[in-house]
Symmetry: C2
Subunit: 160 residues, 2 copies
């Protein structure tokens, strides 16, 4: 079970757009060049972020992608869900009702299957950890770990 | 990002084997019939559980799969990892070092990327929840939710 690379790509693009300034509009081809990513795939991965209200798509000669809300209001869960969807990793297909269970009293299945319930609770712990971590937290910790990263990124982007 | 159906199938098969008794040996075709699953796919999904020491494969005319250790010593994480592997959902490809980052001071990358570190911490919360839930916990809660489930399962299996 592997998450799409799009999650990593999208999170880095959001951080870059923030470092370039709140009004920066960057075409996906230039975002791709900034990280040496394949431009068509990156473009495809950024489109659901527009749908999720994380990015805005600006048309025209100077068009591209820009942040649609501040990083403080974008959680890692927002990014993951915009790319991966809301369905979660585990899917219960209720096999307890098949075969041996086919003739059981239907009351037996009123409570959710304990296997599924346990899997969902574990996913909730994952989602809660993702929901409480904003891209602003990640930006701030990155700026602490890598002093000068914002200015260096702007300078390298200007030279791209 | 979807987990393999094999996780659901394997967990149900372990519970069934436990209800049939500690020495029950059941061919994969019969386990498949017990849940109306496709026998070749189920067989393929149960083999990594043998490798993980969760099930044992018994050869011969009366061969099949049996539990290799009690449900108390099988966590949901054991089942998930045996099917899905140990790699985790998020993979960092270090795109921060590419493009804009290619000429940065290498000291900048001494600390792990904060995006990856945050994703890994969230997965640890997920894994911790899976690790603390044993198949014995799930069996016990199922027996509370569905009184008589063990005896009903044995009777239905005998009539299969």
């Amino acid at each position: 079970m592997r998450m799409s690379n799009g999650v990593e790509w999208a999170a880095h693009c959001c951080l870059l757009l923030d470092w370039l300034g709140p009004d920066a509009v960057v075409p996906s081809a230039k975002l791709a060049a900034a990280f040496e990513l394949p431009a068509p795939y990156l473009h495809k991965h950024l489109q659901p972020l527009v749908h999720a209200g994380i990015l805005r798509s600006v048309r025209g000669v100077h068009g591209g992608f820009m942040l649609d809300r501040p990083l403080e209001r974008i959680s890692l869960l927002d990014v993951v869900r915009s790319i991966e969807g809301d369905d979660g990793a585990f899917r219960c297909t209720e096999i307890r009702r098949c075969g041996l269970g086919a003739n059981a009293d239907r009351a037996a299945w009123q409570r959710p299957c304990e296997i599924a319930a346990s899997m969902y609770r574990a996913e909730q712990a994952w989602n809660a950890a993702l929901a409480t971590r904003s891209l602003a937290d990640i930006r701030d910790d990155t700026e602490t770990n890598v002093p000068g990263v914002a200015a260096q990124t702007r300078a390298a982007f200007a030279a791209l």
